[in-house]
Amino acid sequence: MTASNELTAMTAAQMARAVADGDVSAVELTTAHLDLIARTDVHVHAFLHVAADSALRAAREVDDQRAAGQRLGPLAGVPLALKDVFTTSDMPTTCGSKILAGWQPPYDATVTKRLRAAGAVILGKTNMDEFAMGSSTENSAFGPSHNPWDLSLVPGGSSGGSAAAVAAYQAPLGIGTDTGGSIRQPAAVCGLVGVKPTYGGSSRYGLVAFASSLDTPGPLARTVLDAALLHEAMSGHDPCDSTSLDAQVPPVVAAARNADVAGLRVGVVAELSGEGYASGVLSRFNETVELLETLGAKITEISCPHFTYALPAYYLIAPSECSSNLARFDAMRYGLRVGDEGDANAEEVMSLTRAAGFGAEVKRRIMLGTYALSSGYYDAYYGKAQQVRTLIIRDFAAAFEQVDVLVSPTTPTTAFAIGERVDDPMAMYLADLCTIPSDLAGNAALSVPCGLAPEDGLPVGFQVMAPVLADDRMYRVGAAVEAALDQRRGHPLLTEARGLANAADAEAGR
């Protein structure tokens, strides 16, 4: 491994320590990552915008602060990949859509501000399914990202760009958003740790809305501790977001360091298994449950009967909210404008622009949402879905009376091929089967790698769900699983990702 790779192979925790101790400068660290991006992103396509200049400037600032003996933020000098759904006043924000191509927001998202305040160095904005709608990044208007395990496969979505970047070592930390599973599912298929904090734990101010009552910003990382560090740095109450929780951030870093699950009551969700789940996913999942038992956890099977309705409820609630949230993209104040040359009126320009600027999945969901909210249909669709939501919340409440955490596979299959599901929306939606219940209920959930599926050698994710504001509990479980599996394996899982190495070999061979 070259010096550059030694730097980029560190965990975020290690990088933060190295910068704080003066072992490496923030500029060195940032440069190493920018170099790696330059070499590999032609294959991975994780980034929509690489902000080399501002990143180096931010890194230099950290180095200056350190030299002046000033107090450094908890993530000072650590490079980070930011999903292009968060506004940045010094970088474009496209949300993976043509309708916002080149849009330069005049303000920073709260999450953006908090990351900068923590000293993190934002390397750039990452690729995503358009307006966060999708499970593969194939809905991006700018082309899909590629899974570093196998470049012909999807990295998951909608935070696929951030996941691909972290899995490719282009950054040790990534920020994603989870509405139906869009952090956890990419984490699972890329072999990463992905966390959906309790809803309201992080501010949505500056997060371009898809489904307001579901969108949750969260961390992607290669280790549980790294995810916890990022979780703490980005979270907290924001008076600019009426739905943000006015509560202490749960002690997730402490929990990540304490991998003790002895006596913890673990519930296996009966409904999240069976037909449609790849055998490798199920076998790795079951082994991990057994592993937890050997570590002292008490395992029970728990039925959450309304979870089987979570998917249809989600695909009514989310499109309904998004049909309204995306109405603002109308060519009047910012973004794409099409059709204004002749005599067209405002309504026509709006319609032509939205038809040209939105991709197919976005159009489908807008129309679906408009349908579900229509007078005469509201009660049977949107109204009913919100009732199902109540029942799912009650299922969780009942379950958490009996157990401390719930577990399931994160997603039914390993990474699928690019192009495999694009023509079948329902097949694509099934990727969210296990993740959606926690989005609807707003509780905390994470995905931690639990091995590779024997049939294809691809990563499998293990999902841990905890009650609202008990995020720390799931970090404990995640840390325990990670520690045990890492010990068993003897090396980090991600070093087995061969996608980029294969590409390099192929190039060399030519």
Partner: protein
């Protein structure tokens, strides 16, 4: 009885409106009013952008009121408080728990293409407001009072009149987007008959005065901080069901409220007389003609796809907070009127005269500044009313303040001025010459009481009118009036009339006490 046309439609040119008195003779009107009030908070409804008038375009906007991607609303606490105030003053129930909702439709002056409003969970419901017209009291039911955000403002460029029709393009300013708006909706108001237009006007007037007393808005219809939509329907007298109602917009003054109701009753009567049916539609009121025209016809009512606003959490005003607001309510106009009428000892007729002249407030302020109620009323209802009429303005618009009127009244009371001189001072104030005291000094207006000065004039008058003097000497003291007049004339009105009369009586040989 008019001939029935074979086809009935409000669009036909053959339909003639029925004169008002005839129309209300055969049809019973039902009216309703929806009033929008711009609240006078410092900031907008959902963001901290300043709520300003007349600022440079787009200089008072932020990501939230511009609806930029990623922006989120946060409720202005004062707006909630003001709305509860309004609800309480209108005798409403205040919701213990309510939400905002999104009203979805596309329009360039709405940055998000949805308006955050309240749908089936308004903050205040089920109140009433008493309104008096021609000695009759009407209790107008209040259906609901809710909060929403205002839109931006557009300039339409290229058309003939700057109106939207025929424009080539529009220019939008979002300074007013997001201003808090309170909507007050009445229940239908039946049983007004011939008084329907007056009741509509009286309701808006009373509501306006109430809002002003609450200090929640500057309620100026001309500026748009108070906007009215008027609903009108008629049904044949004795009919069990109400007729189809129309909604009339662009009603920008109290007078227009009255005229719009009147015109719609006349128009709808014409439609029904011709055998047609009133179309449920939105109509536009025209100041110049005093009539309404149909708006763009809509096949079906627009579906706004309301759903609870997911970016906001519910509003559940604590009972203690509501009680606090209630306890702090100022004296409302109706109660104030009762109090003043009692304090001033006025008959109902006198009180009505004050209100009709629009003089109540200025009289009250003049009394507060030290004048007696009688004098205040006298000044405002007589001399100042005349002058206001001549100038074609409302009393409150005269360039003289109640405090100044009180001062002038006081100068008369102390004998420094007489009524004639006082009117000259009023002239001076209205002409912008300054304060009453400044004018008195500048014009050297002073009642002359100096006996030596007066004696000379008195002697002259007696000498010039020996026969009158003889009458006075003989006991006809009333005749002194003519001599007083002569002296007043001779002194350009500055003599103290009472003193003059005294001197005349003395000089003519009859003392006081006869």
């Amino acid at each position: 009885m008019s001939e029935k046309a074979s086809r009935g439609s409000s669009a036909s040119a053959a339909i003639r409106p029925v004169p008002f008195d005839e129309a209300v003779g055969r049809y019973e009107p039902v009216i309703g009013l929806e009033t929008h009030v711009e609240l006078g908070t410092a900031t907008k409804m959902f963001c901290g952008s300043p709520a300003v008038f007349g600022a440079e375009p787009n200089s008072a906007v932020c990501p939230v009121c511009l609806g930029l991607p990623g922006s989120l609303p946060v409720i202005n606490k004062s707006a909630i408080e003001y709305t509860i105030k309004i609800g309480l003053a209108l005798n409403c129930s205040i919701a213990s728990w309510c939400r905002f909702a999104r009203k979805n439709y596309f329009y360039p002056d709405m940055p998000k293409n949805f308006q955050i409003s309240q749908y089936d969970e308004p903050l205040c419901t089920d109140g009433w407001l008493a309104v008096e017209v021609a000695g009759q009291e009407f209790t107008v039911g209040i259906e609901r009072v809710h909060l929403e955000e205002d839109t931006g403002k557009s300039l339409h460029v290229g058309g003939a009149t700057g109106r939207i029709h025929g424009a080539d393009y529009s220019l939008v300013d979002y300074n007013r987007a997001g201003i808090p708006l309170v909507e007050v909706v009445t229940k239908p108001i039946p049983g007004t008959g011939v008084l329907a237009p007056a009741v509509a006007r009286a309701y808006v007037t009373e509501l306006r005065d109430l809002l002003r007393a609450l200090d929640v808005s500057d309620v100026r219809m001309e500026q748009g901080s108070l906007r009215c939509d008027v609903n009108t329907s008629i049904a044949a007298a004795g009919s069990a069901r109400w007729g189809t109602r129309t909604e009339t917009k662009n009603v920008n003054s109290l007078r227009s409220v009255e005229r719009a109701v009147r015109s719609e009753i006349e128009r709808q009567a014409g439609v029904l007389d011709a055998g047609g049916r009133v179309v449920q539609e939105t109509r536009h009121f025209h100041e110049d003609t005093g009539t309404t025209t149909a708006g763009r016809s809509k096949e079906e009512a627009q579906d706004y796809r309301y759903f609870p606003e997911p970016d906001l959490v519910p509003v559940a005003p604590a009972p203690e907070w509501v009680a606090q607001i209630k306890a702090a309510l100022p004296e409302l106009p109706a109660a104030r009127r009762v109090r003043l009428q009692a304090q001033w000892g006025l008959s109902d007729l006198d009180m009505a005269a004050l209100r009709n002249a629009g003089a109540l407030d200025v009289v009250a302020e003049t009394v507060a500044a030290g004048a007696s109620p009688e004098q205040a009323r006298n000044w405002w209802l007589e001399d100042l009313s005349r002058r206001a009429n001549n100038r074609g303005v409302e009393l409150a618009e005269l360039p003289i303040s109640p405090a100044q009127v009180a001062r002038i009244s006081d100068l008369v009371n102390t004998g420094a001025l007489n009524n004639k001189l006082a009117r000259q001072v009023v002239d001076g104030v209205l002409a912008g010459e300054g304060t009453p005291d400044e004018i008195v000094a500048a014009r050297r207006l002073a009642v002359v009481t100096d006996t030596s000065v007066l004696s000379a004039a008195v002697d002259e008058a007696i000498a010039a009118n020996p026969d009158i003097a003889a009458k006075i000497a003989a006991g006809k003291t009333a005749a002194a009036g003519a001599l007083v007049g002569a002296v007043m004339k001779a002194t350009a009105g500055q003599a103290d009339a009472a003193r003059v009369r005294e001197l005349i009586l003395q000089r003519c040989g009859t003392g006081l006490g006869e």
